[in-house]
């Protein structure tokens, strides 16, 4: 019987099955940031186990609050920094080189098809875009990952979501994933992997696939997965050129991780996206989704463009094309946080940063910041934000604040109007 990508990865990484249904896997990439890792480090030290299983397989970044905003966040940053130094973790990204983890690590070529990836961060599912099994874990799982390079999972079932048709103008990966979450519900994929396939995915860039996989967790999914193809190989080529004689050879090697044609799925969902309109969320759950036109006119106080969902160059290009030569509405404030220094640099070189600034945007350094209500754009009680992030929970971007999740294009249109707005009229 055929296997899914997730089943193949599980089989190839199995270390132990201590009990039926529990699989302990070895982990190829253990990622760390300064919010969830310091407590793991402190606990390892308290246990007299301040070791790492393989410094080369650990990647670390200070990204959630950076540069540090107060003594407490400075202490968290210092704990991670000192630990990385102590264990000679060379892939450690500090102020100046740091960006949002799920945008930065792929950009550095750390994720390969067939990898197992864990991080103390729920949006680790993003890295499934490369045909990897990538799961968010808590601090204890992270701690064991750091110490032993293993993690235990219940083998997840796979839901295959075929995205059929073609995305219409003004509709992007963010709209597609909001549509999927609206369909599955916030726990429709709990203990499941969501495998994204179909012509829409095949036509997507790696950036767009990361946007898709990023929000798998908002449907409860353990990991999103896109199957590796030539788009994957092209993206990774600068990092793998020496390992393969040519791109075709890389494709053949990575293609082995693709789900077999006769793989068994728990569920197959077919969604035709040809008629999809720009979407946004309206409540405090990411499955509460409507067409933006139904919400048009909702006044917003802040527009936020950034995060591991939509802070990549492709996202900035889309938004800048809409904002070019325009001004944001009086009374609205708009914030851009390019997800990584490279994105920032490229956006500057292309003239995008100038477009944002001329329009009236505040451009911050790469950081999570406002996405989780920690810094750089926290909302006040009763304020409304049009945001390209991934979570609209009550209080997420600031106590008493309301968050509408939407695409970078919709964010740009909303900034111009000061209200939730359909981006298609600006294209």
């Amino acid at each position: 019987m055929g296997m899914t990508t997730a089943q193949k990865i599980f089989a190839a990484h199995l270390v132990d099955e201590p009990f039926a249904g529990t699989k302990v896997l070895n982990i190829d990439v253990v990622m760390c940031h300064e919010i969830t890792t310091p407590i793991a480090i402190a606990d390892l030290m308290a246990r007299g186990k301040d070791r790492v299983f393989d410094a080369g397989k650990i990647k670390a970044v200070i990204d959630h609050v950076t540069p540090s905003k107060d003594s407490k966040t400075a202490t968290q940053a210092k704990m991670l920094r000192d630990w990385a130094r102590r264990h000679q973790i060379k892939d450690f990204f500090d102020v100046g080189a740091n960006g949002v983890c799920h945008a930065l690590f792929p950009e550095k070529g750390f994720i390969r098809p067939g990898n197992t990836v864990i991080m103390g961060d729920s949006h680790t599912c993003t890295h499934g875009a490369f045909g990897a099994f990538a799961a968010g874990v808590g601090t204890t799982d992270l701690e064991v990952g750091i110490l032993k390079g293993v993690c235990a999972f219940r083998e997840p079932k796979t839901i295959r979501v075929n995205l059929n048709g073609t995305l219409p103008k003004g509709v992007y990966a963010k709209d597609a994933i909001l549509r999927v979450i609206g369909h599955l519900g916030v726990n429709g994929a709990t203990d499941r992997v969501i495998e994204f396939a179909g012509p829409v995915v095949a036509a997507m860039s790696m950036e767009s696939r990361m946007t898709l996989c990023n929000m798998a967790i908002e449907a409860g999914g353990t990991s999103g997965i896109c199957m590796p193809d030539m788009v994957t190989v092209e993206y990774l080529w600068p990092f793998i050129a020496e390992a393969f004689a040519g791109k075709e050879e890389a494709l053949a090697a990575y293609g082995a991780w693709c789900s077999d044609a006769d793989a068994q799925y728990e569920q197959v969902i077919d969604l035709d996206l040809s008629e999809l309109a720009p979407l946004c969320t309206f409540g405090y759950k990411p499955d509460q989704v409507k067409n933006v036109t139904e919400m048009a006119g909702t006044v917003v106080d802040q527009v936020y463009l950034g995060s591991c969902t939509n802070g990549r160059l492709e996202d900035l290009r889309v938004a800048a094309a809409i904002l070019k030569g325009k001004k944001i509405a009086p009374g609205v404030r708009a914030i851009l946080s390019p997800a990584t220094p490279q994105v920032y640099k490229d956006a500057a070189a292309e003239g995008l940063i100038e477009i944002f600034m001329d329009a009236g945007f505040c451009v911050t350094n790469p950081t999570c910041g406002a996405c989780l209500g920690m810094s750089n754009g926290v909302l006040a009680e009763g304020e409304v934000c049009a945001s390209t992030t991934n979570r609209n929970f009550m209080g997420r971007m600031g106590k008493g604040g309301m968050v509408h999740l939407l695409s970078p294009a919709t964010a740009a249109a909303s900034a111009i109007e000061g209200k939730l707005a359909d981006p298609r009229k600006y294209l």
Partner: protein
């Protein structure tokens, strides 16, 4: 092994998320104990007051579907732990929250919708309490002069973690 049980705190809503259990602004605390005052601070629920005596004295949480969805922060189980609540009973859990509970040697117990309804029928009783035997897979709820027992299943692995007191020592010994 921790002992599981005590006065019950009923949270009658599905999809209670980790931001509601412990807001992100407190993730800068470096010790678990520092989280203690902030338990469920942002949870808006009719009749629920995070600062009430009933909340502070509770030993078990009972809720509906998809409990603990959202972020991976283990601060969510920790804030229960430092408040003496070592078990959460719900119709279903988000994966990471559930695993975090067991990884800390605490219990995340799933019951059917009907069983959860039965538990909620005790919500009106001021003395509602639940005793849990993780090894036997059974619990007893009492309150308002009534008593009922029910059984539940947790996976052998999760049970082993509870018995071992968590995943770190278990894994370091074994792998």
């Amino acid at each position: 092994m921790k002992s599981f049980g005590g006065p019950a705190l009923f949270l009658d809503r599905s999809d209670i998320n980790t931001d509601e259990i412990i807001p992100a602004k407190y993730l800068t605390e470096i010790t678990k104990e520092d989280l203690k005052p902030y338990l469920l601070e942002d949870l808006k629920l009719q009749g629920f007051d995070p600062k009430s005596e009933a909340t502070k004295n509770a030993g078990v949480v009972v809720s509906r579907a998809n409990f603990g969805c959202g972020s991976s922060r283990e601060h969510a189980p920790w804030v229960f732990e430092v408040n003496g609540m070592y078990a959460v009973i719900a119709q279903s859990f988000a994966r990471i929250f559930r695993q975090n509970m067991f990884n800390c040697g605490m219990a995340a117990i799933e019951l059917s919708a009907e069983q959860i309804d039965q538990l909620f029928s005790f919500a009106g009783a001021a003395d509602a309490a639940i005793r849990i035997d993780v090894e036997k897979g059974s619990l007893t709820v009492t309150g308002g002069g009534r008593e009922e027992s029910m059984s539940f299943e947790i996976s052998p692995f999760d049970q082993a973690l509870v018995l071992a007191g968590g995943w770190v020592d278990y894994a370091d010994l074994k792998y």
